[in-house]
């Protein structure tokens, strides 16, 4: 090992300068590629559940309860992969640069978007969220008679209509 003299060490130290980042008082070094916590825009979210399906650690969950379904984001389990932002059909999810997420209680790490559910006009079963219904009507031409039906009732109604069209009876 080469032994350095004090003068030499001082020379190296002066050349390197101060490297320490005074973090809490100084801004942290965030690269453009850095991914932090996600933010869900409640004005854009449909509650379709595409992000829930793709989320590797199930940090996003969509739980129906009574007449509402809550899309819950638990940042404590999130691995910050950004897959949810990639698949979101409404572009409601954005990846922010937020990383100061520490908290003293686990409840503070959770956040949610509450969606109201729509009932099937025929059988009364809860089918989908209000926001998703609105988005579907906007994007694809679908008959108003069918829009509020659940898939089962829709199939039944269409079958009956087709039989009537062929000259048979609806029964």
């Amino acid at each position: 090992m080469v032994k350095l003299s004090i003068a030499k060490i001082l020379q190296i130290a002066l050349k390197a300068g101060r490297v320490t980042r005074k973090y809490p008082s100084e801004q942290p070094l965030l690269t453009p590629e850095f991914r932090g916590a996600i933010r869900i825009d409640p004005t854009k979210c449909w509650g379709c559940g595409a992000c829930v399906r793709v989320c590797p650690p199930n940090a996003l969950t969509l739980t129906p309860k009574d007449k509402v379904a809550t899309l819950e984001y638990f940042v404590g389990r999130c691995i910050f992969c950004g897959m949810c932002a990639e698949v979101c059909p409404a572009n409601a999810i954005t990846v922010t640069k937020e990383f100061e997420l520490s908290s003293t209680s686990i409840e503070d790490l959770k956040s949610g978007v509450v969606h109201r559910l729509v009932r099937c006009s025929s059988c009364g079963e809860l089918i989908w969220t209000e926001a998703e219904l609105r988005a579907t009507v906007k994007s694809s031409p679908i008959s108003e008679e069918y829009i509020t039906l659940c898939p089962k009732c829709r199939k039944l109604k269409f079958g009956k209509a087709a039989m009537l069209g062929r000259g048979g009876s609806s029964e």
């Binding site: 389990r77 999130c78 520490s102 686990i106 956040s111 949610g112 978007v113």
Partner: protein
């Protein structure tokens, strides 16, 4: 002033941490080491890494607490003197991460806390630090939050989706 507040005031300028890996993938461990380098220099806050939980004020818990490591984790935490302060680091430490419902892991600190209570081990304060892996800045922020030097930013919010 309560005992905990008194103890926190006493250790404010010399926090000795013990790094406890409970089956982590080593990413968080590397970030812990990163936080100890001159670049971030946690010794500004008096943070020093010690080799035994008996000397530690804070335990840096990384990993999802695997079944194999669970008894050792409980022993290490029991060996700590009061006040027992814990920093649960990373997605695995906080909520179990990708392995949250696996048979071979405990799945996050919340469940470990129940096991510790059953075993008669009390914990005075926990700070959850999410991140996968945690940034060194996030670890520093967590330590400062533990000591009450910074305000907590995370808050539970529940909003209704818009009407129109």
């Amino acid at each position: 002033m309560s005992n905990l507040a008194k103890a926190l005031k006493a250790i404010r300028k010399s926090i000795w941490v013990y790094h406890l890996n409970s089956g982590s993938c080593n990413a968080c461990d590397i970030e812990v080491l990163d936080a100890l380098t001159p670049y971030f220099d946690v010794e500004r806050f008096g943070v020093k890494l010690v080799g035994s939980p008996r000397h530690a004020d804070v335990i840096l818990l990384t990993g999802p607490i695997t079944r194999e490591s669970l008894p050792k984790v409980v022993r290490a935490i029991r060996a700590m003197p009061r006040p027992r302060l814990i920093l649960a680091l990373g997605s695995c430490g906080v909520g179990g991460g990708i392995w949250w419902d696996s048979y071979s892991t405990t799945g996050g600190f919340k469940k470990l806390e129940d096991i510790l209570r059953e075993n008669g081990v009390e914990i005075d304060r926990v700070v959850y630090v999410p991140g996968c892996p945690v940034r060194p800045e996030a670890i520093i922020y967590g330590i400062l939050l533990l000591l009450g030097a910074v305000e907590q930013k995370s808050k539970r919010v529940e909003v209704y989706a818009s009407e129109s």
